[in-house]
Symmetry: C2
Subunit: 257 residues, 2 copies
């Protein structure tokens, strides 16, 4: 169900749950850089996470999926709830006031408008294949682009804190569950998946030991093909063994200690 923005502003709680939002930290991986998708609303200098309200007929996870799909176009997602944020003042900001919001939307709205109330936000993070994503905003957004994780702009509300918590959760996740299926092409090389892990964890691993351990887990299978990478020895291609991969997602495993 698509809700008209004017209706939403005026009668929000008729369509969505008041005082609850979902915010998504969308991670992308590209050329050995970990990135986050951020958006900037009209008339505001600060950036924020893609977020939205929960429709009365959907689950919180479906709400997060809808938000991510609107920004990335992707719906086959690795999506993970990691933490909820609830402090009475977390969405107060001196720049983004009800008055400014009213002016931008050319409407009258009072100080206690429902959108400026105490909001508890459920945080999700997702990992997406950077190259498949077409960042797209909505009419109320001026920009929607990727930012390197190490070089973020000034953020609205407590969104800096949310990103940090998401990154921490992602890194903890990697120690127990495999990743890569959503981030790498179907066929990939050992150095590619090696770089992926190094980038996300911001650590280096001995490539010889890394490959040995990863193969030992059984989650990847070697193919009888190589990829031509130009002026160097052609590396073998691998694919994920989805049976073992999914089992590791279910039961967990330890790739590093």
């Amino acid at each position: 169900m698509k809700i008209e923005i004017k209706d939403l502003i005026q009668d929000g709680p008729k369509y969505v749950l008041p005082n609850i939002s979902v915010d998504s930290v969308i991670f992308g991986y590209h050329e050995k850089e970990l990135k986050v998708l951020l958006q900037r609303p009209q008339g505001i200098s600060k950036w924020m996470l893609p977020g939205g309200y929960v429709h009365r007929d959907e689950t919180i996870k479906q709400a997060a999926e809808r938000v991510v799909k609107n920004r990335t176009g992707l719906d086959r997602l690795f999506l993970n709830q990691f933490q909820s944020f609830g402090t009475p003042t977390r969405t107060k900001d001196s720049e983004l006031t009800p008055a400014l919001f009213a002016e931008i939307n050319q409407m009258e709205l009072d100080e206690n408008h429902w959108m400026f109330d105490y909001f508890v936000s459920i945080g999700f993070y997702s990992l997406t294949e950077f190259s498949k994503v077409v960042p797209s905003g909505e009419f109320y957004l001026e920009e929607c682009t990727w930012w390197n994780i190490g070089d973020l702009p000034s953020l609205l509300y407590d969104h800096q804190e949310i990103i940090e918590a998401a990154l921490k959760a992602l890194r903890l996740h990697i120690y127990h569950y495999p990743i890569g299926y959503e981030l790498l092409p179907e066929k990939f090389t050992l150095p590619e998946i090696h770089s992926l892990y190094e980038t996300i964890l911001d650590k280096t691993f001995d490539s010889r030991n890394f490959g040995k351990k990863l193969i030992a887990t059984g989650i990847i299978k070697k193919l009888d093909e190589r990829r031509n990478i130009g002026a160097h020895r052609a590396p073998f291609l691998y694919v994920f063994d989805m049976e073992n991969y999914n089992q590791a997602l279910e039961n967990g495993y330890a790739l590093f200690v």
Copy 2:
């Protein structure tokens, strides 16, 4: 701030956030059994987790602390947010209907009463020292007691699922962070903390190796005292080294692989 129940039922959203609740899984440990504190409302056959609403001037964590304090009397708590639950139908129950609720409270209230709307619940779990707790209900509760984790009664809503998720989160937590400070007496023996870990993880550990490893982490210190346990060799007493313990809470550590 204490809110009168009649006011809450009639004008809830004036005092608390609508559509949001906090539910607490309160774990207790006693005689090698892991227990959960549950309550049963008047006129209902099913049991439920202690839960409550979020006051407009408190954080979600403070709300959870208030709930736990009301049920256990304890305020020095190990309290951990682990997951939020949000499905439109999660708080529909054929037994606990608005009509029954109205009858119990001797009030008129319609089908769409705010308390029976779609609620998103933020789940917290806490570990408490069983012996210090005095389970106490409120006037609308008929019972409030401990249940063994392996032998739970029939539960209201999705509370069975919430308990399972809490236990999973607790067990994952133990692999990375120390526990015991809230659960054991100030001075405890190696066999005592050994049993605690075995009970919570539902696994056995070699007592000789367990002790060696735990001492090696530096989070406990041996005293020059023994505890008289009757007909057997008196075990040495230990205390937590709070500096190392808190550092392990901050940075994490691996006691088991």
